[in-house]
């Protein structure tokens, strides 16, 4: 079986007008490749520039480290889950619309990780905003430096135009909460319910400490919120128990009081409240250099190809204007 190449030339075919029109408007890929080949010096130069810039970019970004911490629901979740949903108080709370305890502690914990409340505590206790946005804050005096540069200037001008306060002042807890939301990656393993928090930073020790403090503070935040509510319940029930005269009613109140005191006890001791650490924080280096260099190299290739094709297109246009 042989194939005749000479017979490959276009034969007279009964192609419809639309197909002929389609072909007329089409561009041959071989021609494009020829054009690219003719501009190979430009493409190679752009590729090399891309690689050099990628190398420079990887070098200026410095080292990066990823801290990871694995979490599991803490013991108190099960106590809470067993009692609150089915208890008389839970029923009463549901009827009155407060729906106490309907959200598991662990879910509350995950939602609170990037809450402003947690960010405020982190800021107060550990000056976290100053440490996270260290480029704009003096680490010894914790005094904020004024943000400068073209981006800060543009933000300032736009804020002034809109009559808004100066956006280049000290970072607030709200901005810290937004930063946590954007930079702490939460992954849930559906098979075993383990939650992994991942955070990247140029400073390995800080990355590990940041995650540990975040978990600890969020646990404390949930605990303190529960403590306030439970204390009120306990006080109320204790006063009711002391005034109730009916024995059956008093027994029921005593039982409720016992339940709430058990919960209150968990908020008073220093144990993981909503989430307990299963593993970590572990810190590993993240090597992005190859990825960055390859990315800029590809961008250089694309830019070189566009310059080559664009130059030819402009030459053709320029030629047609001249004629």
């Amino acid at each position: 079986m042989t194939i005749e190449q000479e017979a490959f030339e276009p034969r007279s075919r009964d192609s419809s007008v639309v197909i002929a029109d389609y072909l007329r408007r089409s561009v041959s890929l071989s021609e494009i490749l020829d054009q690219l080949w003719s501009g190979r010096a430009v493409i190679a130069a752009c590729f090399v520039i891309g690689l050099i810039y990628g190398t420079y970019s990887a070098w200026t970004q410095g080292p990066h480290f990823a801290a990871e911490i694995s979490l599991l629901p803490a013991e108190s979740n099960s106590v809470d889950g067993n009692s609150s949903g089915s208890s008389a108080l839970g029923l009463i709370a549901g009827l009155t619309g407060t729906n106490l305890g309907s959200v598991p502690k662990f879910t509350q914990f995950l939602s609170a990780l990037h809450s402003t409340g947690v960010a405020e505590i982190l800021d107060k206790k550990y000056a976290m905003s100053c440490r996270v946005f260290s480029g704009y804050c003096d680490q010894t005096t914790h005094q904020w430096l004024r943000r400068d540069g073209w981006r800060a200037w543009i933000n300032g001008v736009l804020a002034k135009l809109s009559g808004l306060p100066d956006p280049n002042g000290p970072y607030t807890s709200t901005e810290l909460a937004q930063y946590i939301e954007g930079s702490v990656e939460i992954t849930v393993d559906k098979a075993n319910q383990v939650v992994r928090l991942n955070y990247q930073s140029p400073k390995p020790q800080f990355a590990a400490q940041f995650l540990t403090l975040l978990v600890q503070t969020t646990n404390d935040y949930i605990k303190s919120q529960d403590r306030v509510v439970l204390r009120q319940y306990v006080n109320y029930l204790a006063s009711q128990a002391s005034t109730a005269t009916n024995v059956a009613q008093r027994d029921a109140i005593d039982q409720l009081l016992l339940q709430q005191e058990r919960k209150l006890m968990l908020t008073e001791v220093d144990v993981p409240y909503a989430a307990s650490v299963l593993d970590g924080p572990t810190v590993l280096p993240v090597n992005k250099a190859l990825k960055i260099i390859a990315m800029y190299g590809v961008l250089g290739l694309i830019a070189g190809a566009l310059i080559t094709l664009g130059r030819r297109h402009l030459n053709l246009r320029f030629g047609s204007w001249r004629t």
């Binding site: 042989t2 017979a7 192609s15 639309v18 389609y22 408007r25 561009v27 041959s28």
Partner: protein, 405 residues
């Protein structure tokens, strides 16, 4: 005959034409590396390189911009959905190669779209005939289901996808010219032996599209009664069809897929994953190629599923349907593009155009409804014919309007 064939001299154009049509049927999966690799891919790549070296591989600027727009949209979606860029690039490369190759060949070779359909239909007829003759020996092959006709493919559904346009084509031509009557009978027998719900659905759609242009009220009523009758007969005589219909009905009504058969489970579990992906990313989707990452994320939420089913990860890469997959990967825009493409290009009149439309539209509905791969070898061949058929019709209509004005 073999010696005569071996000594025959093939023109390169003839080789390209024949190998292109043959490649449509080479859908035997040989590997999976992020995307499914089919037996036909080496043929397409080799032919594309031959055409490239001979300056015969073309791309229309609109075609290029469509791919560029899809790539840009997907990269933006992928950025927000954390889909790896490599997954997007793999899909875009596959779509680009297949679409450019099949559009180039269809517009540069062959005499007309009808000739292409006829050549393809002859190949499909050969596959169906082989399937019937091979059926008694199928169980010895150890490949696919032993009792249902699947010819050279791994499963009957692939046989259906790849021969349905030929059945539609022969049926339409037979109605006009009374040619291919025996061929249609062979196809009817092969479809009965394949015992595939998709095949019966496809035949129903072909009948419906043929009938739409000829129906009066009483004929519509008669066709409806005939359709219900055929459905009832199939329920009674085909256990496979019955299982599919009843399992799907009970799984949907009880919201429980744990007792469904594998095929029903595949559709409903992927519908579940798509639904949740869509709720998370309604406007941008997760980017083309990102579905499988969403599958891994959501499939664990389904409880009570037999472990065997979950381990199979049924249709994890293609969402079991192009409509579902496009909804997950491109957001609301995905199915809208598919539906607009199918409905706009269906607006043709005249026997020559209707023959192609009535052959391809049922195929697209069945194929896109139950198979989500973007660049299996047959898709862009039929997309190109369907689109060029519409463009040809529109161009001729404009001309005739111009003449009458």
């Amino acid at each position: 005959m073999i010696a005569a064939l071996a000594n025959r001299r093939f023109e390169l154009g003839e080789y390209i034409t024949l190998s292109t049509v043959a490649s449509l049927f080479m859908q035997q999966k040989v590997a999976q590396i992020g995307v499914d690799l089919f037996l036909g891919y080496p043929v397409v790549i080799l032919n594309a390189l031959v055409l490239l070296s001979l300056n015969r591989l073309y791309v229309n600027p609109r075609h290029f911009f469509a791919i560029a727009a899809l790539a840009t949209f997907s990269l933006v979606s992928a950025h927000y959905a954390n889909t790896p860029v490599t997954a997007v690039i793999a899909q875009i490369l596959g779509i680009s190669l297949m679409s450019v190759y099949y559009f180039s060949v269809l517009t540069s070779f062959g005499d007309s779209l009808s000739d292409w359909m006829e050549l393809y239909a002859r190949f499909a007829f050969g596959i169906a005939l082989f399937g019937i003759l091979y059926l008694p020996f199928q169980r010895f092959g150890g490949y696919g289901e032993p009792d249902r006709l699947h010819s050279i493919f791994i499963e009957p559904s692939l046989f259906i996808y790849l021969t349905l346009p030929a059945v539609g084509w022969y049926a339409n031509v037979w109605l006009r010219t009374r040619r291919y009557g025996w061929d249609l009978l062979v196809f009817a027998l092969s479809y009965a032996l394949a015992d595939s719900s998709l095949g019966f659905l496809g035949l129903g759609l072909i009948g419906a599209f043929i009938a739409t242009s000829r129906l009066t009220f009483w004929k519509t009523l008669g066709a409806a009664i005939l359709g219900f009758g055929a459905f009832a007969v199939l329920i009674v005589i085909s256990s496979n069809f019955r299982v599919r219909v009843l399992d799907t009905f009970f799984a949907v009504s009880n919201a429980d897929v744990s007792k469904a058969n594998l095929s029903t489970f595949a559709v409903l579990s992927n519908a579940y994953v798509t639904f949740h992906t869509f709720l998370d990313h309604p406007f941008l989707g997760v980017g083309i190629g990102g579905y499988r990452f969403q599958y891994e994320h959501y499939i664990g939420d389904l409880s009570g599923i037999p472990k065997d089913f979950l381990d199979l990860q049924v249709n994890m890469f293609d969402a079991s349907s192009m409509f579902l997959r496009s909804l997950a990967e491109l957001g609301v825009l995905g199915p809208v593009i598919l539906i607009v493409f199918l409905s706009v290009c269906a607006q043709v009149r005249g026997a020559r155009y209707l023959e192609i439309r009535n052959a391809l539209l049922p195929f697209f509905l069945v194929r896109m409804g139950r198979y989500g791969a973007y660049f299996s070898t047959e898709l862009f061949f039929f997309v190109a014919i369907y689109l060029l058929n519409f463009m040809d019709y529109r161009s001729n209509r404009r001309k005739s309007l111009h003449r009458s004005a």
